[in-house]
C-alpha cells in the first residue's frame, strides 16, 4: 500500500473481461493500475485505448493522470520482478480460452505456465495478495451444488481449458498456503454487458446463436422447407441451463472481491443464480431468427445420420455440449444481492446481446452501427418498444443518466396500439414487457398512434405532443416530466428512419 493508494498489477487487460476489469478498478479513486501489455506496446496500447474508448474511457488521459501505467511484457517468460515492486495486489485475468490443446501449447502455456511464472515473481516481490480469474467450470463434469472452495481432488474435465484452469488454481492455492493471500474468482460464461449487450469475444452461447443464424440465412435463401418446421435435433435437454453472466457484472464482482480486505485465501463463484434454460434460449433464438421446428434429442455427438439442416447447425462443432449442463448449481455469495425477481440474463438482455452480436457481424466489425429499420408494414409499436428500444437505449444518453431508476408505461391508443412497460435501473433498460404485467409503473405516457409515429421519427417534439397535443401523463407526473428531456435526447440520437404509419394491427413481433 502506497499511502492512500492501492497499486494493482493487471494482466489480460486487452481481453473481453480484462478491459472491463480495468474500467471497474478505475472506478475506485484510490486504485492505480500497472497494466501488462504485450510487445510491441504501441500496438497493444492502441488496442487497449480502442477498447476503453468504446466504454467511455480515455487511456491517454488516464496515463497522463498516472492512474494507468503500461508495462511491456508477456507471460510466462517476459515479465520482470521490478515491474512488481510496490504492488499491493495482482489481478491475473490473462487467459487462453482454447478448448482443445494444440501444437502452440495453449491453453496450458498461458493458463498454467503464465500463472506459475507470475506467482514466482509475486513471491520475489513480496506481493501480499494474488487474485486469479478462473472459471466456474473447473468443476469439470461434476453435477450438483458446487461449493466455493478449492477442489483438492482433480475432477474429470470436459476439455483442456477446464483442466488448465484447475491446474492454475492449484498453483495459486498453494501460493496462498505458503506465501500470501490467494483469492480465486470463478466466473461462469461471459456474455455481453448490461448497457449495450456489448461483447468483444463471442464464444459460449454466442456460438449457439451464430449456428442458428447460419440456419436462418439458409432458410432466407429460398430453402423449400417450411422455416418453422426445420427437422433439427438439438442435443441435450430443455431443462439444462447455460450459466451466462454479463461481463460488466463479473468485472464489478471480481473487483469488489479483490479490493475487499482479506485475511485468508478464498474462492468465489461469480455465477448466475437463475440462468436461462436450453428451452428458453431455443425459444428466444427461434423468435429472433423467425425459425422453428427444433426439438431436443438425447442422440449423441457426432450425429451419424445428420440431415442437411443439422450439418449446417453443427458446422461450428458440438455447440451445446460445452455450454449447457444438467443439474449443476453454484454456491455464490456475490449473487446473493440479486433480488430473486431480477434475472441477470432475461429475454430482453439476451436479445440486446444478440442484436449487438449481429450488428458487429459476430465481432468482426470494428464499430457497430445501429441499423434498425422498421418493419416493411410501417412502425409497429410492439416492434418499437420490444426491439428498437432494447437495442438503441443502451447506446444512448439514457444509459448515461445513472440515477434514472423508474418503471415507465407507454400506452398507445388507437387500433394499432397497445401498452408496454419498461423497467429502467440506473440508466439501464432492464426489460420491456407487454402490459398488463407484474411491473407497477412509476408513471405512464398515453398518446395516440399517430403521435407516436410523429415523435419517434422526429417529426414532432415530444413536448409539443404533450403541451399542445393529445398525449397525457399519469402517475408521478413530476418524474414523467423529468423523463421528457431524457427521451428527447434519445429521440434525437435514434430517430426511426423512414418511419411510416402502419395500417394493420400488430400480429406479434420478431426482433
Amino acid at each position: 500500500m502506497t499511502g492512500e493508494h492501492v497499486e494493482v498489477f493487471l494482466t489480460g487487460a486487452t481481453g473481453f473481461l480484462g478491459h472491463y476489469l480495468l474500467a471497474e478498478l478505475l472506478n475506485h479513486p484510490r486504485v492505480r493500475c500497472r497494466v501488462l501489455l504485450s510487445a510491441p506496446i504501441f500496438k497493444s496500447s492502441d488496442r487497449l485505448a480502442e477498447l476503453l474508448e468504446q466504454i467511455g474511457l480515455d487511456l491517454m488521459a488516464l496515463i497522463a493522470e498516472g492512474r494507468v501505467v503500461p508495462i511491456e511484457g508477456r507471460l510466462p517468460n517476459d515479465v520482470h520482478q521490478p515491474d512488481l515492486d510496490g504492488v499491493d495486489l495482482i489481478l491475473h485475468a490473462a487467459g487462453n480460452t482454447t478448448f482443445r490443446s494444440s501444437g502452440s501449447g495453449e491453453p496450458g502455456r498461458t493458463n498454467v505456465e503464465g500463472t506459475r511464472a507470475l506467482l514466482s515473481l509475486a513471491r520475489g516481490a513480496s506481493v501480499p495478495r494474488f487474485v486469479f480469474v478462473s472459471t466456474a467450470y473447473v468443476c469439470g463434469d461434476r453435477t450438483g451444488h458446487q461449493e466455493e472452495s478449492f477442489l483438492a481432488t482433480r475432477p474429470s474435465f470436459r476439455n483442456d481449458y477446464e483442466c488448465s484452469k484447475w491446474q492454475a488454481e492449484a498453483l495459486v492455492w498453494n501460493w496462498g498456503c505458503d506465501t500470501g493471500i490467494a483469492t480465486i474468482c470463478r466466473p461462469s460464461i461471459l456474455f455481453g454487458d448490461r448497457k449495450r449487450g456489448r461483447a468483444t469475444a463471442m464464444k459460449g452461447l454466442y456460438v449457439v446463436a451464430k449456428a442458428t443464424d447460419i440456419l436462418a440465412r439458409a432458410m432466407d435463401e429460398g430453402d423449400e422447407t417450411n422455416r418453422h418446421q426445420i427437422p433439427l435435433r438439438i442435443l441435450g435437454r430443455g431443462d439444462a441451463t447455460c450459466n451466462v453472466v454479463p461481463v460488466d457484472w463479473v468485472a464489478q464482482k471480481v473487483c469488489e472481491t479483490a479490493l475487499q480486505r482479506a485475511d485468508e485465501s478464498s474462492v468465489h463463484h461469480i455465477t448466475n443464480p437463475d440462468p436461462p434454460t436450453h428451452e428458453e434460449v431455443k425459444t428466444w433464438l427461434e423468435a429472433h431468427f423467425d425459425i422453428g421446428g427444433g426439438r431436443f434429442s438425447d442422440a449423441t455427438w457426432p450425429l451419424a445420420d445428420a440431415n442437411h439442416y443439422e450439418d449446417l447447425f453443427y458446422s461450428l462443432g458440438n455447440i451445446c455440449l460445452d455450454y449447457f449442463r444438467n443439474g449443476l448449481t453454484f454456491e455464490s455469495r456475490c449473487a446473493e444481492s440479486i433480488p430473486p425477481e431480477h434475472r441477470l440474463i432475461d429475454r430482453a438482455s439476451f436479445l440486446r446481446c444478440l442484436n449487438y452480436a449481429q450488428e458487429s457481424n459476430w465481432c468482426r466489425a470494428a464499430k457497430v452501427p445501429l441499423n434498425l429499420r422498421p418493419p416493411a408494414g410501417g412502425i409497429d409499436p410492439a416492434w418499437y418498444f420490444e426491439c428498437f428500444l432494447p437495442a438503441a437505449v443502451p447506446r444512448s444518453t439514457v444509459a448515461k443518466v445513472e440515477e434514472l431508476t423508474a418503471i415507465v408505461q407507454y400506452t398507445i391508443t388507437g387500433s394499432v396500439g397497445g401498452s408496454w412497460v419498461s423497467r429502467f435501473e440506473r440508466g439501464l433498460l432492464m426489460e420491456t414487457l407487454v402490459a398488463p404485467c407484474a411491473l407497477e409503473a412509476t408513471f405512464e405516457y398515453r398518446l395516440s398512434y399517430d403521435d407516436l409515429v410523429d415523435v419517434v421519427s422526429c417529426r414532432k417534439p415530444l413536448q409539443e405532443v404533450f403541451f399542445h397535443g393529445s398525449a397525457e401523463m399519469f402517475g408521478d407526473v413530476e418524474r414523467a416530466l423529468k423523463m421528457v428531456p431524457i427521451i428527447g435526447e434519445f429521440l434525437r440520437e435514434f430517430p426511426v428512419a423512414g418511419g411510416e404509419r402502419s395500417t394493420t394491427s400488430p400480429a406479434g413481433v420478431a426482433c
Partner: protein, 240 residues
C-alpha cells in the same frame, strides 16, 4: 385586438454575457407602449419557448399591442451552452430536482431582460411560468419592472425572497390542482409577501393550463389593463 397580419414575429439572437440565446420577438405593426419578457419552464422538465403557456401569452400580448420576448434557456433549441455534461446534469436533476448550473439560466433571463429593454426602450413587464417565475424573481432587484406576473410558481422548492425588493404590482395565477404546489401552500406564501398584489386561481387547469390557455391569457391581459399597461386601457387597482 390586432389580427395576425398586424403582428410581426421574428426569431432574434440575444447576446448574453457568456452565450447567445435564441428568442422569439412578437410585436404590433403600430407603436407599442409596453413590453413583456416571458421566462419559460425548466429545460429539464421539457421547457422551451414553444411551451403552450409561453406561446399563448406571447400571442395574446402582441395582439394587444405589446412587445413580447420569449426565449430558450442555454442549451435548449437554438440557444448556445447548457450543462457541459448533459447526462450527468440530467442524472443529478432526476435525483435531486436541481443541479448547480441552474444559476446560468437565471443569468439567461437577465440577458433577455437587458436585450428587450435595449431593443424596445419601453416599460417592461416580467412574466414567469413555473421555473421561469424563479428565474424572473432572481433578477427583480435590477429590473425596474412595470409589473410582475408569476404563473404557477413553486415557493416550496424555490426561494422567492427577492420579490420584496421590487414594489411593482404583482399578479399570481395558479391552478387549484397543481401537482407541484397545493392551494394552501401557494396562498400561505402569497399572504406573506408584500403589496400591491393580486391572486387569481383557475379551476382544474393543473400545472400545465392545457386547454385553459385563453383563460389564462385573459387573466393576464385583464391585470395589465387594470394597471394601465395595455394600450388604451385605464389603470385600476384590485388587490387581493
Amino acid at each position: 385586438m390586432l389580427t395576425e397580419d398586424r403582428i410581426i414575429e421574428e426569431t432574434v439572437r440575444i447576446q448574453g454575457s457568456k452565450r447567445v440565446l435564441e428568442g422569439n420577438l412578437a410585436y404590433p405593426c403600430e407603436q407599442a407602449s409596453c413590453s413583456a419578457l416571458i421566462a419559460g419552464p425548466h429545460p429539464f422538465l421539457g421547457g422551451d419557448r414553444n411551451n403552450n403557456v409561453v406561446r399563448s401569452l406571447s400571442d395574446a400580448l402582441a395582439s394587444r399591442g405589446m412587445v413580447a420576448l420569449s426565449f430558450d434557456y442555454g442549451g435548449v433549441g437554438g440557444s448556445e451552452g447548457g450543462p457541459e455534461n448533459r447526462p450527468a446534469a440530467m442524472s443529478a436533476f432526476w435525483k435531486d430536482g436541481a443541479f448547480g448550473e441552474e444559476e446560468s439560466w437565471v443569468d439567461d433571463t437577465g440577458s433577455a431582460m437587458a436585450s428587450l429593454r435595449q431593443w424596445s426602450g419601453l416599460p417592461q413587464v416580467l412574466m414567469g411560468y413555473s421555473f421561469g417565475c424563479w428565474s424572473v424573481a432572481q433578477n427583480l432587484p435590477e429590473s425596474r419592472a412595470a409589473a410582475v406576473v408569476l404563473i404557477s410558481p413553486n415557493p416550496g422548492k424555490h426561494s422567492f425572497g427577492r420579490i420584496s425588493s421590487c414594489r411593482s404590482p404583482l399578479l399570481l395565477v395558479h391552478s387549484d390542482n397543481d401537482f407541484t404546489c397545493s392551494v394552501s401552500e401557494i396562498t400561505d406564501w402569497f399572504d406573506s409577501i408584500r403589496q400591491p398584489k393580486t391572486r387569481i386561481q383557475l379551476a382544474a387547469s393543473e400545472h400545465f393550463f392545457r386547454g385553459h390557455e385563453k383563460e389564462l391569457a385573459g387573466v393576464v391581459l385583464g391585470f395589465l389593463a387594470n394597471h394601465g399597461l395595455l394600450p388604451g386601457a385605464d389603470g385600476r387597482e384590485d388587490n387581493d
